[in-house]
């Protein structure tokens, strides 16, 4: 028996039991992200069913668990490795572009992610990088959890949309098929009918009229199906909008909760006795002030001044001192 070269295992062969694809076509290979050594499904069951045990590859010695084994997706193990690392890092570094006020910030964030992935993949400063990852995950525990929840939500939405689209497509196809079928049927039927009717000598004169009426009925039928098709499309579009909007409503609700602190717990949101219409107010004096650089530099805003004046105009207008202080 030829000694196996452990460092260069043939592509379709399990190095542990020496089975290959030729003899047992159902063979499936699994890998463990600890060491990425390829082992066949049967061997994984056999070796790791009783609990964690070391990798059967010589000079590896990593303790592997059965539940960590997974099917290899990519042929190239390097790619597989990078995907795994990337997934792990992105689970922690999970901010979206919308979370950053500046594009530059987002870019540097991405740069950081790439750095970490590269270092982990090529085993440069692994300990240090791992520590960095851990620190970041602890520092941003809450936002990470929130972002994960958000992406879950988005994923759910995506699934729902996909489902809806699938349903819509199948229904549309059915209708289309029905239309074609009906049309073919009709054509045959009309032909027969026309022949039948033309055969009867008494109605010779109306031969053209007969053909006309037959054609019209045919048109009507196909029109009916076309209408159904249009209805279906409208319905689909509506449902899709609802799903997308649902998400928006949720996010709107969250925003509404974030009102600024007021000493009255936000219960001052009653309609004011005036309407603020800065465009309709005319005041030559104030308008001159607004253009003054000195005022502009200080962040002076005419609208705020208007609002304040109006507010004061209706602060205490209906307080009748003589009456209220009588006691």
């Amino acid at each position: 028996m030829v000694e196996l070269d452990w460092n260069n295992v043939p592509k379709d062969m399990c190095p542990v039991c020496k089975t290959d694809k030729y003899l047992s076509p159902e063979i499936q290979f699994k890998i463990n992200p600890e060491c990425y050594h390829k082992i066949c499904d049967a061997c994984v069951d056999r070796i790791f069913s009783l609990g964690p045990s070391p990798c059967p590859y010589p000079n590896c010695g990593k303790i592997l668990r059965k539940n960590k084994f997974k099917t290899q997706v990519f042929d190239d193990l390097e790619v597989e490795k990078e995907c795994d690392i990337r997934r792990r890092v992105l689970n922690i570094y999970n901010k979206k572009e919308a979370d950053f006020p500046l594009t530059d910030d987002y870019n540097s964030y991405q740069e950081e992610i790439e750095d970490i992935v590269y270092k982990l993949l090529h085993k440069i400063d692994v300990e240090k990088t791992e520590e960095q990852l851990k620190e970041y995950s602890i520092a941003n525990k809450q936002s990470i959890r929130m972002n994960n929840a958000r992406s879950d939500q988005e994923y759910e939405k995506f699934i729902r949309l996909q489902k809806l689209e699938k349903q819509y497509k199948s229904q549309r196809n059915r209708l289309n098929r029905q239309i074609i079928h009906e049309q073919a049927n009709l054509k045959n039927l009309e032909k027969m009918k026309t022949i039948d009717e033309l055969q009867q000598p008494s109605e010779e004169k109306n031969s053209e009229a007969v053909i006309k009426s037959v054609k019209e009925s045919m048109k009507n039928r196909s029109n009916k199906y076309k209408k159904q098709l249009v209805e279906l499309e409208n319905k689909y579009l509506k449902q899709r909008e609802i799903i997308i909007k649902n998400q928006q409503i949720n996010s709107k609700k969250k925003k509404e909760v974030k009102i600024p602190f007021t000493p009255f717990n936000g219960d001052r949101m009653i309609p004011m006795p005036y309407r603020l219409e800065p465009n309709r107010y005319k005041d030559p004096y104030m308008e001159k002030m607004v253009d003054d650089v000195q005022f502009m530099a200080g962040g002076y805003k005419l609208d705020l001044y208007y609002e304040r004046s109006l507010n004061e105009a209706f602060t205490g207008l209906n307080c009748y001192i003589e009456e209220e202080k009588a006691n």
């Binding site: 219960d267 309709r280 004061e312 602060t315 205490g316 307080c319 009748y320 001192i321 009456e323």
Partner: protein, 384 residues
């Protein structure tokens, strides 16, 4: 739900510095009484060996030149006007000027001019108001500009004034509400001629300036004063504006206005029939209390009530000004001097005695024209 009016009710201006008419008068009388008591104690504490003290003791205590409550208000108003001039000299904004004047009036609700001379209090009030209203003037520059003052002489009253104000420094003036109404009228009545509105508001602003020297700031809220001033300069505009604002229909306005006028006539007649405002103020709350249990809810009632308040306010603006002439002010001022420094009055009494003795002698000598001569030296004494 908290309305703007509720917010106003939480302000110190409403809680500490808004009174009914009778309460305001009571406070002034009380302050006056305190001042008189204080002066009497001062008289008792005088060195009994001095000839001046003996001269004072000889006269009846009720003849001593105590300042009356009315005179106090007059002299405070006089100095409030001085304060306005001084504020103009320093180019202070109207907000700061008005605050200084209000501080001065508020101070003399708690104290008497017989205890603290209004001139010095006025300086400190102005200094403090400038500081509060964000137009600070350094104390050295401030006292340099005013003759016969030192930084210390101004600052020594600062804490006292703060205490008398009950540390409530914020003053709500009608200027800002007036501007608010100016804007809101533009929005609500777009057809109103812009120039006319501007003119009305300018003259209303002048009236607001004048309103500071009356009791109005203590009796009405700033928006009410602003409306009253605007009404005085352009009655039709304000009535139309309020009618539209409160949702009255055109026909209703006319009838409502008539009823209000009738009520006004009645009220004025009661005002005239009763001797002074004390009795009138007693009557008015009694008349209103019948309406009080059912607070007005319909637009007409609201409109009525607001217009009535505005009318009252206008009435106060027109009749309740205490503007002393120069001579009057001088007379009161000398009285204050005597209360603050009783020995001066003693000196005056002694001088008078000598003068009358001399007069008697000269009268004896000449025996004629004595009546003319008698009046002359007295005049000199007073002015001296």
């Amino acid at each position: 739900m908290i309305s703007n009016d509720d917010l106003y009710r939480r302000s110190t201006q409403y809680r500490y510095w808004s009174f009914t008419r009778s309460k305001l008068e009571d406070l002034r009388i009380l302050a006056n009484k305190k001042g008189i008591d204080f002066t009497k104690r001062r008289l008792q504490d005088l060195d009994p060996d001095l000839p001046e003290t003996k001269a004072i003791k000889e006269i009846n205590i009720s003849d001593y030149p105590f300042v009356t409550s009315d005179e106090e208000l007059k002299i405070v108003t006089y100095y409030a006007r001085k304060c306005k001039d001084l504020a103009k000299f320093f180019h202070l904004p109207s907000q700061a000027r008005a605050t200084a004047i209000m501080y001065l009036y508020k101070f003399y609700l708690a104290h008497s001019v017989m205890v603290y001379h209004p001139q010095y209090i006025m300086y400190t009030c102005l200094f403090l108001a400038a500081k509060v209203e964000n137009s600070f003037i350094g104390i050295n520059n401030f006292s340099k500009a005013i003759p016969k003052t030192t930084p210390d002489s101004i600052l020594q009253y600062e804490y006292l004034i703060l205490q008398s104000l009950r540390f409530s420094l914020r003053c709500h003036h009608p200027y800002q509400p007036l501007y608010g109404f100016y804007l809101d009228i533009q929005e609500l009545l777009p057809k109103v001629d812009f120039k006319r509105l501007g003119r009305s508001c300018d003259s209303a602003r002048e009236l607001v300036n004048e309103s500071l020297f009356t009791n109005v700031p203590f009796l009405f809220t700033p928006p009410q004063v602003a409306l009253a001033c605007l009404w005085k300069s352009d009655a039709v505009l304000v009535e139309r504006y309020l009618a539209k604002k409160l949702g009255l229909k055109r026909k209703q306005i006319k009838s409502e206005m008539e009823t209000i006028r009738e009520e006004e006539v009645k009220e004025e007649s009661t005002d005239e029939s009763t001797v002074e405002s004390t009795q009138a103020s007693q009557q008015q709350p009694a008349g209103e209390s019948s309406d009080h249990p059912s607070p007005p809810s319909s637009p007409q009632q609201n409109f009525d009530k607001l217009m009535l308040t505005i009318r009252k306010c206008v009435d106060m603006l027109e009749h309740n000004t205490m503007n002393p002439s120069m001579e009057e002010a001088k007379h009161i001022s000398s009285k204050i001097r005597f209360c603050l420094e009783p020995l001066r009055y003693g000196k005056k009494l002694i001088k008078q005695k000598i003068a009358t003795a001399a007069l008697v002698e000269s009268a004896n000598a000449k025996r004629s024209n004595s009546s003319e001569l008698e009046s002359e030296p007295k005049k000199q004494r007073i002015s001296g």
